[in-house]
């Protein structure tokens, strides 16, 4: 027998001895010897432990059923094995009833805990389904087919929309100034070089962008928190984030800002890249995430 088995065997024996001492005195010695003998017939530590625990339970039942009458009868007859069944001393609950009550009680407890966690705080109406609106400070303009360069100064225009508030977001490394010429300008035969018109269309969420409803914080729904967070993202030409999104303008509620940042991160790979003359480029731009609950 290895040390573990020996330890379990000792535990089982001690449990049985303890159970036997709690039995009615007239039966205590008999039950202890009987149970230890039957324990020896069991193989396997788990079986032995189960048996010993069962004996503990049996002691309760036996003490309840045979306690006082057995003591009285044994004292009168001087017999250790005299057993008198007193039909009037039935336990309050049978073993089955006790187990059922325990199981039902446990389930009620679990349901109460779950209900307390789910139910909205007092004084608040049940939360309607959340609605999240994502809007962009700079709406992408419809793509314009490239037009021949007009070299007259009056026709030079820059198609680029910067956010209305805050400093303009600098474009990626290849850009110099938003909307300005990024390649060698054409040279007029008799004058200074003129900047070329660049048709720049800011990007935004594209096909497959995550479901925005999933990012409304549950706590904010319960507390009916609403607001608009402006998030700045830098997106490469493949529509992936190439930097961490940041909050440009807070909604005033940290939870909503966090939800907006999570939405921006989850959308990596699903952004529509900014285009210049129809060619995708890396660029940074802000967009707004509006958290609003229906009434």
């Amino acid at each position: 027998m290895n040390p573990h088995d020996r330890w379990f065997d000792a535990v089982a024996r001690n449990l049985i001895r303890h159970a036997a001492t709690r039995a009615p005195p007239a039966l205590s010695e008999r039950l202890g010897e009987e149970w230890l003998a039957d324990l020896a017939a069991r193989t396997g530590v788990l079986s032995q432990l189960r048996f010993a625990l069962g004996c503990c339970w049996a002691t309760n039942v036996i003490a309840h059923e045979f306690g006082a009458p057995v003591r009285a009868a044994a004292a009168a007859a001087g017999s250790k094995t005299a057993v008198v069944h007193d039909a009037g001393s039935e336990p309050t609950f049978s073993r089955r009833t006790t187990v059922i009550l325990l199981v039902v009680g446990f389930h009620v407890l679990v349901i109460c805990v779950l209900a307390a966690a789910i139910v909205a705080p007092k004084g608040l109406k049940p939360s309607p389904p959340p609605r999240i609106d994502v809007s962009f400070l700079a709406r992408p303009a419809p793509p314009v087919p490239p037009t021949p360069v007009d070299l007259t100064l009056a026709n030079i225009r820059v198609i680029d929309v910067a956010p209305p508030e805050g400093p303009p977001v600098p474009p990626e490394r290849t850009d110099t100034i938003q909307g300005q010429v990024t390649e060698a300008p054409p040279v007029r035969p008799n004058g200074p070089p003129l900047p070329k018109t660049v048709n720049r269309v800011l990007g935004g969420p594209g096909a497959g962008f995550p479901n925005t409803d999933d990012f409304y914080p549950q706590a904010s729904i319960r507390l009916r928190e609403m607001g608009i967070a402006t998030v700045s993202v830098c997106v490469d030409s493949a529509g992936r984030l190439n930097g961490k999104p940041t909050i440009d303008h807070s909604s005033g509620i940290a939870r909503l800002d966090e939800g907006a940042l999570k939405l921006a991160k989850a959308g990596s790979g699903y952004y529509r890249p900014t285009t210049e003359d129809g060619r995708p480029v890396s660029a940074c731009y802000p967009f707004r995430v509006k958290f609003q609950l229906r009434d």
Binding site: E34, W35, A37, R50, G54, V83, H85, R95
Partner: protein
Amino acid sequence: MSFQTLKVLEAFLENPGDELSGADVHKRSCVASGTLYPILLRLESAGWFVSRWEAIDPAKVGRPRRRLYRLTRSGLAHASGVFASFGRGIPA
């Protein structure tokens, strides 16, 4: 009469003359020890069983003596009557 009590009685009715220890009854009936021993004591107190210590020398045999239970004549009659009232034995 509970289902477990019927299982215990059925274990004895396999061969009514057998003397069975608690471990033997458990093997035949699969009733757990927490239920089995109160039933054995209950039936013994009702006169359906008698019990005695196994007549062995534990030192020679190398194991403790067991408590053996046997159906009494009246216990056999009662148990047979119970199962006859069902018309058949209880399923294993």
